[in-house]
Amino acid sequence: MSDTTINEHEPEVLDRVILRFAGDSGDGMQLVGDQFTTISALFGNDLATFPDFPAEIRAPAGTLAGVSAFQVQISDHDILTPGDAPNVLVAMNPAALKANVATLPPGATVIVNVDAFEERNLTKAGYDVNPLTDGSLSAYTVYEIPMTSITTEVSKDAGVKPRDAERSKNFFALGLICWLYTRPVDGTAEWIKSKYEGKFLVMEANLRALKAGYHFGETAELFASSFEVHPATLEPGEYVNITGNTATAWGLIAAAKQSGLPLFLGTYPITPASDILHELSKHKEFGVRTFQAEDEIAGIGAALGAAFGGALGVTTTSGPGADLKAEMMGLGVSLELPLLIINIQRGGPSTGLPTKTEQADLLHAMYGRHGESPLPIVAAKTPSHCFEATIEAVRLAVKYRTPVILLSDGYLANGTEPWRLPDVADLPVIDPDFASGPNHTDEDGNEVFWPYVRDETTLARPWAPPGLAGLEHRIGGLEKADGSGNVSYDGDNHERMTRLRAAKIAGIANDIPPTDVDDEDGHADVLVVGWGSTYGAIAAGVRRVRARGHKVAHAHLVHLNPFPADLGDVLGRYRRVLVPEVNMGQLSRLLRAEYLVDVVSFTQLKGIPFRAASMESAILELIRAEDGGDGRSGAVTSSVGGTPVDGTVPADGKVYP
């Protein structure tokens, strides 16, 4: 520590910084992380966040199980991930330190609430000796700050009970970090005032703690200097900081508007999907109807019923809920009605890791129904991309009269990034193209309506919600005769209908963009193919590899069924294809099966996103193997079931067996 003070120094300029706020579940770490993010977003930084919290609402205080963390990377240039290893860790208690210390690179800054480092807490965290005194943190710059005592002290004369005042220590930490990174606290002060309106003492305690933290930084002469991360030069436009779940909810509202269809959400609460329900239920001014059903089956059932009635039927779920919906999805495939199933994937099997991310439902989405039951799959790749992906999924559902599965995951759902708002006028228009009259002449020459007469190009059937005379018809889960839709048990008809349903979905390949390949000059030998939330880590890894002077290409699939029509050709252009996934290699299987390409699978299942560093080394390893003329197989050891090749510790320091 230095004896110089901030007053003698200009803030030191950094191009980016990764901060991690960690504390007990009850310490309000998500809240201050959010606030710091908002401040930084408004300040103009590019950023990406990663909330990382336990499944329990309040695990026993002070234990490792109860640690809740929020990681944010802020930068003066465009970034893709919340960062691999924090430069700064704020640890509100020993458990928060212990859970996160292993992720810190040497030289990192550790700011601890020293008041919490007393024997009871140390024991609960599993420390035999105090890590602040045993030299184990010598690789880091450690600041021991009595956050609890200062926070209680400053609120004393406001009449706040010490016990209540203590709860404001998260705002002390926020104030301190705001000073350290040279950003104003006024916005947060205003936020506190409106949030705690009517609860004067809480408001006062929080405000005082916030200011105390800020002033502490200024006056305590503890820090050598403060830092500055300049605003990023982002594309001009209006920005908001958005989570994937909010973007998904807004995407649904926009898709409803763009199609003129009333939006109906049938759903059952489940982490991490519930926030979509919460967000949509706030927006009845858009005519949105939300239905919290008795279970997931009823949620999707009601959505299908609404779709039958001419609404945009949507259901949202995760993990176990996705299993429950399978039968109704099959009915949707048979009825050929538009329906959107949004699966915010989480760690499985069973209840698995409710608050942790995973991409392990791709094959479930693809094949998780009995019978030949194909449906389109769309996957969002970043939090803000959820908006666009949702609209695309709705477009396909409506145009092709089919259930569509939209895959997101826990990381996208809760993570945030700045989003340059689209021009509403540029959003795609979706035409429901309802049936308007008879479409067939029967044997007796009568004009009749047949529900299974198909459009010649799309193979979609007419959508004829109740209400029009002359179009009355019955549909059901029994096999239908081609055209008339009457029940048919005829084998030839069943074969024809099965192939028609499959051809309809396969034909969507002609209605989606070709594979978007990022290959600087087209000379790369190695192609990385990803899908979903690995986008940021792969793109960041690719940048790093390129910065080292290597060539590598990246394609990130948004449409997973069907694949873009040119995907086979694209794969064929590269000598090696690396497929990173947070699962056991599900896309790899699909690509191998579909294109007979011997892709290299690179997987991780730790409940957290990939790091850019592990992506970088996986790509490098493949490039080196290729340069060394190693032949075409077995170059990267970390294939199905492997761990990240660089063996780094996961960002939260926990080990998931």
Partner: protein, 353 residues
């Protein structure tokens, strides 16, 4: 036809055109009815098809939804909009339809297995929410379509294909269950009396919110004669207790039996001569407290004791779909119609020049 998709869910097509005069034939689809000859489902279908021309409703605004089972085939035979869905889930599907399309008449056709076994959860919640649907439960006390296993309404000790040594399970009383689930309209009828069925369907249709009608239905193949002891022509007067609103509850060829509240508050069958006419319980469908209706639903332990039929309960409760629409309308009224551009800027936004 985008008017279908109006946010308020109302459909205006044909509103000014008078409802056409129809006959049974207009309501019958061209599909061959495929129940076993002699099945009770035929008479229920006939009662329905004969009633509809009378109701002053439009075919295009009528929807029959069903799950799976013999009973659930009915929508195929109606010349209306219809959906034969999956086992047990019709009330859930109907909830989404009724909540978005309050302009439609939604009928749910279900069996005892469909609604009380696999779909029990959806049934009770639809009733609790008072979704505007009319649920007709064809209770044949057996799984018909799967060829004769016992069902949740089969009597104890019943010998079936899956219970060769007799069923060990206490059956559900569908009306008690519906009443316990807060149903606002509960009635019972049987397939041997088309007139009574028609009347019950008419009443159920007129009720706003969820209506629940149990129909004793004979499966002559797998559970023949299950209700014979009470619905057989020669037994009816002695074994069926017609519930008539505002009237003392009595039955028998000469009205010689009646129902009273016993000293312990339970209802029981008595001889009118013994207690006097004035002691008889006067039926009140609109009683707020469902306690008496519940007791009446349990007056007989099974279709071998005198059994009440008719409307047990008919009370007004807010209707789910309507309330949902009201909430939406109220918010639009207060905030104005939503604007996407404004929504996207509803958090803190900033501008990069």
């Amino acid at each position: 036809m985008t008017d279908l998709a109006q946010a308020d869910g109302t459909h205006t097509n044909g509103a000014s055109v008078p409802v056409p005069v129809t006959t049974r034939k207009d309501w019958s689809s061209d599909q061959e009815v495929r129940w076993c000859p002699g099945c009770g489902d035929y008479t229920i279908l006939a009662a329905m098809q004969m009633l509809l021309p009378d109701l002053g409703v439009r075919r295009e605004n009528t929807v029959f939804l069903s799950g799976i089972g013999c009973a659930a085939r009915l929508p195929y035979y109606m010349n209306t909009y219809g959906m034969h869905s999956i086992h047990g889930r019709a009330p859930a599907i109907a909830t989404g339809l009724a909540a978005t399309r309050p302009d439609l008449d939604v009928w749910v056709i279900t069996g005892d297995g469909d609604s009380l076994s696999i779909g029990g959860n959806h049934l009770i919640h639809a009733l609790r929410r008072n979704v505007n649907i009319t649920i007709l439960l064809f209770n044949n006390q057996i799984y018909g379509l799967t060829k004769g296993q016992y069902s949740p309404t089969s009597e104890m000790a019943k010998v079936t294909k899956s219970t060769p040594f007799g069923s060990l399970e206490q059956p559900f009383n569908p009306l008690s269950l519906a009443l316990g689930a807060e149903a606002s309209f509960v009635a019972r009828s049987h397939d041997m009396d088309r007139k009574h069925m028609t009347e019950m369907f008419r009443r159920a249709h007129a009720h706003k919110g969820s209506s629940f009608v149990e129909i004793y239905q004979n499966c002559n193949v797998f559970n023949d004669g299950a209700f014979e002891q009470i619905t057989g022509k020669e037994h009816r007067s002695e074994m069926l207790i017609p519930l008539v609103h505002g009237e003392p509850i009595r039955f028998g060829a000469e009205g010689e039996h009646g129902v009273v509240r016993g000293p312990d508050g339970a209802v029981e069958v008595v001889s009118v001569a013994d207690v006097g006419e004035s002691a008889l319980l006067v039926h009140d469908e609109h009683r707020e407290n469902p306690g008496l209706a519940f007791q009446l639903s349990r007056l007989s332990r099974g279709p071998y004791e005198p059994t009440p039929i008719g409307v047990f309960r008919d009370v007004d409760r807010p209707e789910y779909g309507l309330e949902m629409t009201r909430q939406v309308d109220a918010v639009i009224e207060r905030k104005g119609e939503g604007d996407i551009a404004a929504l996207l800027r509803s958090g803190s936004s900033w501008t990069v020049e």
